[in-house]
């Protein structure tokens, strides 16, 4: 798994791969080395093989979802109850306030979903570090059909570039 990025620029060496299995075995080799700190793996889509090779566990996005959903639930019930206490509205002889909780479940439920969904999106953006206008596109094929391992701060004649070639990268170049 990529550790904390030490070099924040888009200058380094990128190894482009054509095949999923090649890139996965390359990732496993790269992770064992110390000189690949801050490396990034690129994939055209969310292959689980890559996730496994990178050794990712459960994503922290789940905490965003949980906190968002709980906040939403509380706000939904709070909205209905607070307005009720502000001006009790007796309709059809129905008692306002706490005895009306069953009717407020709908509001609480909808707000749970709404806040949970918004928090999930925020979580994905925050954890994925996007939007980040400082980063640029390293290779336009990475959103098409190519995989890549990018090593920031490395040079073409460095051992990192050599390893990427050994692992079967179809192309290794400086960015």
């Amino acid at each position: 798994m990529a550790t904390k990025s030490v070099v924040d620029q888009d200058v380094g060496v990128i190894g482009i791969f054509k095949h999923l299995d090649t890139v996965c075995s390359a990732i496993e080799r790269v992770r064992e080395r110390d000189d690949f700190r801050g490396h990034e793996v690129f994939s055209p889509t969310s292959y689980h093989e890559i996730e496994h090779a990178c050794g990712f566990g459960a994503s922290p996005v789940r905490f965003f979802t949980l906190i968002g959903a709980l906040t939403g639930m509380c706000s939904g019930f709070a909205l209905a109850l607070a307005t009720d206490w502000d001006w009790p509205l007796i309709v059809g002889g129905k008692t306002p306030g706490l005895p009306s909780i069953p009717a407020y479940v709908v509001i609480g439920f909808e707000c749970t979903i709404l806040f949970g969904a918004i928090a999930t999106i925020l979580g994905m953006l925050v954890m994925g570090r996007i939007p980040n206008p400082k980063r640029r596109v390293l290779d336009t094929r990475l959103t098409d059909d190519r995989f890549a391992i990018y090593v920031p701060g490395a040079r073409l004649d460095s051992p990192q570039a050599q390893l990427l070639r050994e692992c079967g990268a179809d192309e290794v170049r400086a960015t």
Binding site: A2, H19, L20, D21, T22, C24, V41, F42, S43, P44, T45, S46, Y47, H48, E49, E51, H52, C54, F56, A58, S59, P60, V61, R62, T65, G76, L79, A80, T83, D84, D86, W87, L89, V91, A103, Y104, V106, I107, E110, C111, I113, G116, A117, I118, T120, I121, G123, M124, G128, R129, I130, P131, R135, V137, T140, R141, L142, T143, D144, D145
Partner: protein, 452 residues
């Protein structure tokens, strides 16, 4: 489902699906022109109707909810298939969804937009209607009644719209990045901005996948709840024909039926116009029809149970409404509904009929007609005779109702075709997941594939 026969690889995906951003098929302009003219006619009629008032519509008390609320329920129903396909089928790992989810989600967004307009049109002064519907206190500091199903409905529909929009846009982000990487100049800037600068790193995909799963888990109860809440607009009243506990599941099944039929009706022209036959395979269309058939049989069952309960309850008022629906002045609407929603779809038990695109297309159109009639039938035949026999009457839709309804179809198709022109119609990143993986063939790679 058997393994589909892919003739394409993931390297063909971006190249061949994004042809829709180039010059479209001439049929595109013809359909778009037709939709635009209907939309404009609808705008003119709504403008006149807003200027001169609700009196232009044919209805009279007690029938306040006629074609406008019929359209509202119809469009919300259409919207259901999108989230069902994107969320529930995602959790079930149904792979065929990956080819159709994008257009189905777009359909949801536009259908809910069409739906949201109708309560506003219905309230006459729509600027006030929008204000009253929101949970704000009025000048006397009086709040909306949170025990009213109409307020629940506002919450349900607005949550549904927002969550569907987020879900749809989240799926679009990596695809917009794909377009960004294929274009230059101002287009590249616009798509780059819209894609939030997505880079496609493994870490981003990891969080994206997790987020997508959670959104699906949140949207799943939402799909089932939204039409339940819509049905409570009716079921919470004491009106005979409305006041039944079967309404929530019955409405949800009907919504999914009409939504799936609409997905098929949209996919066929889109598949033809943008030459997507190699990506939307016959197996995927077949799966969509099977889902439509399943929901059709649930709806069939619900119609039967509704009648049985009306008779078995021994409530003469309830039974009178059902009698009126089946053999009274609304029998045309009732039997059209039964044949279109329950009888014609039975043809799909035959594999040959499912494989025939023209026949299935026509049946799907009929299902949509039938579902519109179902809502009309429920709303009008119940409401036209309420508790004051002196106010009873008969209702048939007139010019205003028909033009505004067609206008909403125009609006829906205008938005849908604009979407088809500027966005990827098939989710690029998700279809790559169900296609054969790009393996070197040197050695078998471990690790199972979970689908997306």
């Amino acid at each position: 489902m058997t393994t589909p026969m892919w003739t394409k690889t993931i390297s063909d995906v971006n190249e061949e699906i994004l042809v829709n951003l180039e010059k479209p098929h001439p049929a595109f302009y013809a359909v778009f022109g037709l939709a635009l003219s209907l939309f404009l006619a609808g705008i003119v009629f709504v403008a006149l109707h807003t200027t001169f008032g609700l009196g232009l519509w044919q209805f009279a008390p007690p029938l306040y909810w006629a074609v406008d609320i019929t359209n509202f329920v119809f469009w919300v129903g259409i919207g259901h298939a999108g989230t069902l396909i994107s969320a529930i089928l995602f959790l079930f790992r149904a792979k065929w969804r990956n080819t159709v989810n994008r257009s189905a989600e777009a359909m949801t967004i536009f259908a809910v937009m069409c739906a949201a307009i109708f309560p506003l049109i219905h309230m006459g002064r729509m600027w006030l209607g929008a204000y009253w519907a929101m949970p704000f206190p009025n000048t006397n500091n009086l709040w909306v009644n949170f025990r009213s199903p109409l307020v629940w409905d506002v919450f349900a529909i607005s949550t549904y719209f927002t969550v569907s929009l987020l879900f749809w846009y989240m799926g679009l982000v990596p695809d917009l990045a794909s377009i960004r990487d294929r274009t230059k100049g101002i287009k590249r800037l616009v798509y780059g901005f819209m894609s939030f600068g997505w880079r496609g790193t493994a870490k981003q995909w990891w969080h994206y996948e997790a987020g997508y799963g959670f959104l699906a888990a949140l949207a799943t109860p939402l799909v089932l709840s939204v039409h339940s809440v819509v049905s409570w607009d009716f079921a919470m009243s004491l009106q005979p024909g409305w006041h039944t506990t079967i309404f929530p599941p019955y409405f949800v099944a009907g919504a999914i039926l009409s939504g799936c039929a609409m997905v098929y009706n949209l996919l066929i022209p889109v598949r033809f116009m943008f030459r997507l036959e190699k990506f939307i395979l016959p197996e995927h269309l077949d799966a969509c029809l099977k889902l439509t058939l399943l929901t059709s049989t649930i709806v069939f069952y619900a119609y039967g149970v509704e009648f049985f309960v009306a008779w078995y309850s021994g409530n003469p008022y309830e039974w009178a409404i059902f009698e009126k629906r089946a053999i009274g002045p609304y029998s045309f609407y009732f039997w059209t509904m039964v044949f279109c929603n329950c009888i014609f779809p039975l043809a799909w038990w035959s594999k040959k009929v499912r494989a025939s695109i023209p026949i299935s297309f026509v049946i799907c159109l009929l299902v949509n007609v039938g579902m519109w009639f179902e809502r009309y039938n429920i709303i009008v035949s119940s409401l036209v005779e309420d508790f004051l026999p002196s106010a009873w009457g008969h209702f048939e839709p007139g010019l205003w109702e028909i033009v505004i309804t067609l206008g909403s179809f125009g609006m829906f198709f205008v938005f849908f075709f604009i979407f088809c022109k500027f966005f990827p119609i098939i989710s690029l990143s998700e279809i790559k997941l169900i296609m054969p993986k790009p393996l070197s063939g040197k050695k078998a790679h471990g690790g199972s594939h979970h689908g997306h």
